[in-house]
Amino acid sequence: MLSLRNLHARVGEREILKGLSLEVPAGEVHAVMGPNGAGKSTLSYVLTGRPGYEVTEGAAELDGVDLLGLEANERAAQGLFLSFQYPLEIPGVPALTFIRTALNAQRRARGEAEMSAPDFLKRARACAADLRMDFDMLKRPLNVGFSGGEKKRMEVLQMALLSPRFMILDETDSGLDIDALRIVSEGVNALRAPDRSMLVITHYQRLLDYIRPDRVHVLADGRIVASGGPEMALELEREGYDKYARAA
């Protein structure tokens, strides 16, 4: 599904990804762990096409489609979703309006019919209930005045409503207490499907107790330096990243 080959990227003059290769097959959840500054957030921005993140070498494909030649919104329409570490506030635009506008923009880009307001509302109500969110919150401007945990829930709600094929979760556990973490993880797990994959980016192993990965990769100094099964997350938690940082 997602295929990254020898990806090099820089921000300004600084090279941050230095030949990163990674394959995530359909239906799998892969975790990327690594020390601060290894390039974890850069990877998520490079894949989603954030301006200022320049790819100098390598390839990134989603089901054979070259992502790097597409605008950020075109990548979203291809089914790529990034759950932000720090979701942004959008003053004056109610969450429901925003999500429906985004969903219909994606559908238009794919040549599909737009979703009607009643159909959308029905789905939004069901998703909000699953995430134990007060539906009235969706009438408020997106993320404005929301707590960290509410923002993360809103990210998962958007994920569920936009139903992407490939999801990147960037430090989704940061700012969550244990109850919120469980609810958010349940929301994410409910989206696991044979035709859908995820990349879970995290510094700590804690999140992976809730969202069980099929594979774990260690990102250090801009490259994947080690890969293994889910047990690798526990080993990293115990032993830290030192030996990989040195190896890099």
Partner: protein, 344 residues
């Protein structure tokens, strides 16, 4: 400096210039070396549809300066009037309409400024609001890019009266809205709002002064706008609280979005307070759209143009949320939406 005399006497030396403190950002003398000929009469039978069609039974037209000069709204009456100022050609003209709103009467004034050609116009309304009366004035200005125009409102309120104004403009070659209010306090309330959407080399100036002359008055002002390309916006808001106007509550905010490095916003909020126990506040911000927010929106699938329009529309739409008359609010909301989307 007197624009009315300048036009009537065709004397450019009487035009307001940047040497006049209140006109320093909207210099007319530097712009016009000579004054245009007086405008030709404009037949009103061939005038097309206007922005407020269908919202009022009564439509008044001021065509190249000619039109009604006085209107009275009787005591206790409720009326909605459409007032269309239509200017064509490259001549100069002035007009002055006096509106008397009787005690306890209600007037909704839906005013438009259309055309303008390449001429010069000074269009004024004198508004007298009787005790406990109310007037909501909504103005949309869609002028030609070469027009030079000054639109004035002089309002005088009696005790207990309410004036609410919302101006929306796309600017012109040089354009100014000047609103002067004499506020008696004593339960009277004033709301003076404005929205500008300026592109290319257009200019709009929202200037206002509210003079609180008695105790216990309220004034609330919110102006928002966006400037793109090489456009220029001017906001000058002055609130004067005279001696004895104790307990006045006055708030003023101006927030601008600059979408291009070559666009400009000049703002001067002023509060002059000579009374006691007064609550006054003013806030002004000038900024750009947030790149991080734009990326977030695009990551969810919105094309950049649509993301920008949505942000601008929600920012400016908060001014429309304050409009009292729901039908007119919907009309100007779609008017505004069409002009925000036009740049993408």
């Amino acid at each position: 400096m007197n624009l009315d005399e300048a036009i009537r006497l065709r004397d450019p030396t009487r035009l307001p210039s940047r040497r006049d403190e209140d006109w320093r950002w909207t210099d007319l003398r530097g712009l016009l070396r000579t004054l245009p000929e007086p405008s030709q009469p404009l037949p009103t039978d061939a005038i097309g549809p206007g922005p407020f069609d269908g919202l009022a039974g009564e439509v008044l037209i001021v065509a190249n300066g000619s039109g009604p000069e006085e209107i009275r709204i009787g005591e206790g009456e409720t009326r909605t009037l459409v007032l269309r100022h239509i200017s064509r050609g490259d001549g100069a003209h002035t007009s002055r309409l006096r509106i008397d709103v009787g005690p306890s009467a209600r007037l909704t004034l839906l005013e438009s400024h259309e055309g303008g050609g390449a001429g010069l116009s000074l269009l004024g309304v004198d508004l007298q609001l009787g005790a406990d009366s109310a007037c909501e004035r909504l103005v949309v200005a869609d002028m030609d890019p070469d027009a030079v125009a000054v639109v004035e409102l002089d309002a005088r309120l009696a005790a207990g009266a309410g004036l609410s104004q919302t101006l929306l403009t796309t600017g012109a070659r040089r354009q100014r809205f000047e609103t002067r209010v004499r506020h008696p306090g004593q339960g009277a309330q004033v709301r003076l709002d404005g929205v500008y959407v300026l592109r290319e080399r257009r200019h709009a100036d929202l200037t206002s002064s509210v003079r609180h002359e008695g105790p216990g008055g309220r004034t609330d002002q919110l102006a928002r706008g966006m400037v793109d390309d090489q456009a220029r916006a001017v906001f000058q808001g002055r609130i004067i609280v005279q001696e004895g106007a104790d307990g006045t509550d006055a708030r003023m905010a101006h927030n601008a979005l600059i979408l291009s490095d070559r666009a400009e916003v000049d703002a001067r909020p002023e509060l002059e307070i000579y009374a006691d126990d007064v609550a006054c506040a003013h806030g002004a911000t000038v900024g750009a759209l947030d790149d991080e927010v734009l990326f977030y929106m695009r990551q969810r699938g919105l094309p950049e143009g649509e993301a920008r329009s949505l942000l601008v529309a929600s920012f400016l739409g908060e001014v429309i949320d304050r409009v009292g008359s729901p039908e007119a609010a919907e009309r100007i909301r779609s008017w505004l939406q069409a002009r925000i989307g036009a740049g993408d």
